[in-house]
């Protein structure tokens, strides 16, 4: 796959800087699923690195591979190729048993607070399970109460079952459980997407507070660009299994470089009728191609309003076109 060989990669680049080394590094990651209809290239050669204490936002539409990235990092899915380095250790393709000690460093929180909690377990046993599994600790009542207070739940409710809690409270339960082993990195997969606006704001503020208090590092995955902007220090945009743009938060929102990022930003409705009435939308025709399709040239070409000849033949590599601003598009080179 020629498209995934970068001249320099955003993963290696950042680690050579004087900043502290990346706590999590993903290099050349590919996740391909064989299906009867052909190979689905869910993730097709991505490089990412996350610094300690940073929140990296990962955005993209359904099927772009953003959740697969997270699931591969925590070991729920085995990569086809590439390396995943957590605190200096390679962890790709480890078995569930080999992965277990790493749970004290790396945790994941899922989108659906209804599906990810066992309905037959009390909240205390859900939050306390990591202590039992990892430390053989049966009575962790004190820690459970502390964790519940930490995430804004009333510890006196610990004997209750998940269905007795609202969506926002269940997301807090999932978070308390993820925090039980005091991890360094948390992968958050659409953690507020299922929540109502008023509750979403509460959980976003909580995530922010916890990050500061506990010195956490987040990979924050979401499809909502306004939510990602609020949570992230840097943002990566995915399309069809690849990263098409990567930059600091303020830079990418103010000066998007890739036509897909531009279109995404212009499609987000703004809660202001005056702005909405005058806003120019970039209309993307069509839909995301099937991931089993073999695509020649730029994967975004078929929907890109700015596509030109070269896009049909060459896969654009992710390049640093501006200081710390990476884009996988031929346009900047064409312009210069």
């Amino acid at each position: 796959m020629s498209g995934s060989t970068y001249e320099s990669s955003p993963a290696s680049e950042t680690t050579t800087s004087t900043e502290s080394a990346a706590i999590l590094r993903i290099e050349g990651l590919k996740v391909h699923f064989p299906t009867p209809r052909g190979t689905v290239k869910a993730v097709d050669g991505i490089d990412l690195s996350i610094q300690k204490g940073e929140t990296l936002g990962l955005v993209g539409e359904s099927g772009c591979g953003k959740s697969t990235v997270a699931r591969t990092v925590v070991g729920l899915v085995h990569p086809t190729a590439g390396r995943i380095v957590l605190e200096g250790r390679e962890i790709q393709g480890l078995s569930a048993r080999e992965m277990r000690p790493l749970r004290e460093e790396l945790q994941m929180v899922f989108q659906d607070p209804y599906a990810s909690l066992n309905p037959r377990m009390t909240v205390a046993s859900i939050i306390g399970e990591p202590f039992l599994i990892h430390r053989g600790q049966r009575d962790a009542d004190l820690q459970i109460c502390e964790l519940m207070s930490l995430v804004g739940l009333d510890p006196s409710m610990r004997r209750r079952y998940p269905h007795e809690f609202s969506g926002g409270q269940r997301q807090r339960i999932g978070l308390a459980r993820a925090l039980a082993l005091d991890p360094d990195v948390i992968l958050l997969d659409e953690p507020v997407s299922a929540l109502d606006v008023s509750v979403q704001a509460q959980v976003m503020n909580l995530l922010d507070d916890l990050k500061k208090r506990l010195g956490l590092t987040y990979l924050f995955i979401a499809h909502n660009l306004a939510v990602v902007r609020h949570m992230s220090d840097r943002v990566a945009v995915m399309y069809l299994g690849r990263i098409v743009e990567l930059a600091d938060r303020d830079e990418i929102y103010a000066n998007p470089m890739h036509p897909y990022t531009e279109a995404l930003l212009s499609a987000v409705p703004v809660p202001d009728p005056v702005i909405e009435a005058t806003r120019e939308r970039i209309r993307l025709e069509g839909e995301i191609p099937s991931p089993t399709e073999t695509i020649v040239g730029c994967p975004f070409r078929a929907r890109c309003p700015k596509a030109f000849d070269r896009c049909a033949t060459d896969v654009p590599a992710l390049k640093e076109h501006k200081q710390a601003h990476w884009s996988a598009c031929h346009l900047p080179e064409e312009a210069s």
Binding site: E61, Q202, R283
Partner: protein, 334 residues
């Protein structure tokens, strides 16, 4: 609300209840609004606020036997719908009032081709011949943006993408040329770029056909771009109703203020913390409530809020709100 020649739908004092083993739950109470020709009316609110139940009541689609309209009236072009037989209601649905839902997969039959499903509707409601019915269905599929409609109509629902399925649903809703379209979270399951396409299509159809549209959504951005008027619901009640521009420029209910303030948005400078409304909406099965249902979470609560439920009052032509805090004393959120 006064009825004019343009008024298509008039809902007045609607109260909908569910009779459950645990007791009777009032899901919607005192809901009053109307929809005029060519108008898009947004109903916003969070889960459980009664926005969907309101529209199921309008359509006569409440789950039986638990759901019932306990009070109020729903009129289509002056004709009372509450109390109509199932047979008469079925004629109204489709011919006059059609609907589309969030997930087209739950409303389309996975075992039948799109042709079979669309043609069935046309034959049933319009009495067309098979051949004319197919031609009519193809024409509408083409109109909603399905290319190669004459062939695609032979496909099964799963062979379409989410966005295309929503287009099929819209075509199906338009088959009998309804005067009112109720769209319940029509783009919530779709990606933003596809959402933009579908919303654009709904606006075009409104312009072409002069349909009245009720757009139910939780997304205040979608409302801002689509609706002429907005109804804000909380705990089964309308708390505010206003022309869209006025509602966003000067919300007159503390809940509307707070809701607008808690949305992270792309067009504003970043704040360290998002504004958030503490607590949760009340559980409706814990009712009836003695005071304002928002009082326990309201930053501007005062004693009067607990003395009986505030009435929905008109503050200026076309603007209504349910709050005891006098307008002059209402604080705006910084």
């Amino acid at each position: 609300m006064s009825s004019t020649a343009d008024t298509l739908l008039q809902v007045d004092g609607l109260r909908t209840q569910f009779v459950l083993d645990e007791g009777t739950v009032t899901a919607v109470d005192g809901v009053t609004f109307d929809v005029k020709k060519g108008e898009i009316v947004g109903i916003v609110g969070e889960s459980g606020c009664g926005k969907s139940v309101t529209n199921l009541s309008v359509l006569g689609l409440l789950p039986k036997p638990q759901g019932r309209i306990a009070n109020g009236s729903v009129k289509f072009e002056g004709r009372e719908l509450v109390g109509l037989s199932e047979n008469e209601l079925r004629k109204v649905r489709g011919n006059n009032i059609a609907m589309i839902f969030q997930d087209p997969m739950t409303s389309l039959n996975p075992y039948l081709t799109v042709e079979e499903q669309l043609v069935e509707v046309v034959e049933l409601h319009l009495g067309m011949s098979r051949k004319d019915a197919v031609a009519h269905a193809v024409k509408l599929l083409h109109r909603v943006g399905i290319s190669d409609a004459a062939n695609r109509i032979k496909s099964y629902p799963h062979e379409f993408s989410g966005g295309m399925r929503q287009r099929v649903m819209i075509a199906m809703a338009l088959l009998c040329d309804p005067e009112v379209l109720i769209a319940d979270e029509p783009t919530t399951a779709l990606d933003v770029t596809i959402q933009a396409q579908i919303l654009e299509l709904l606006k075009e159809l409104r312009d072409e056909r002069g349909m009245g549209i009720i757009l139910i959504t939780h997304d205040l951005g979608v409302v801002a771009g689509m609706c002429d008027r907005v109804i804000v619901m909380y705990a089964g009640r309308i708390v505010e109703q206003a022309p869209t521009h006025e509602l966003y420029a000067s919300p007159q209910h503390p809940y509307t203020q707070a809701l607008l303030k808690s949305v992270p948005r792309l067009d504003e400078a970043m704040h360290e913390h998002l504004f958030s409304i503490e607590g949760l909406p009340p559980r409706l099965d814990k009712g009836p409530f003695t005071g304002c249902t928002f009082a326990p979470r309201c930053p501007q609560v005062r004693d009067a809020c607990h003395q009986g439920e505030p009435a929905l009052e008109e503050t200026s032509p076309g603007r209504h709100r349910r709050c005891v805090v006098p307008l002059g004393e209402l604080e705006t959120l910084a």
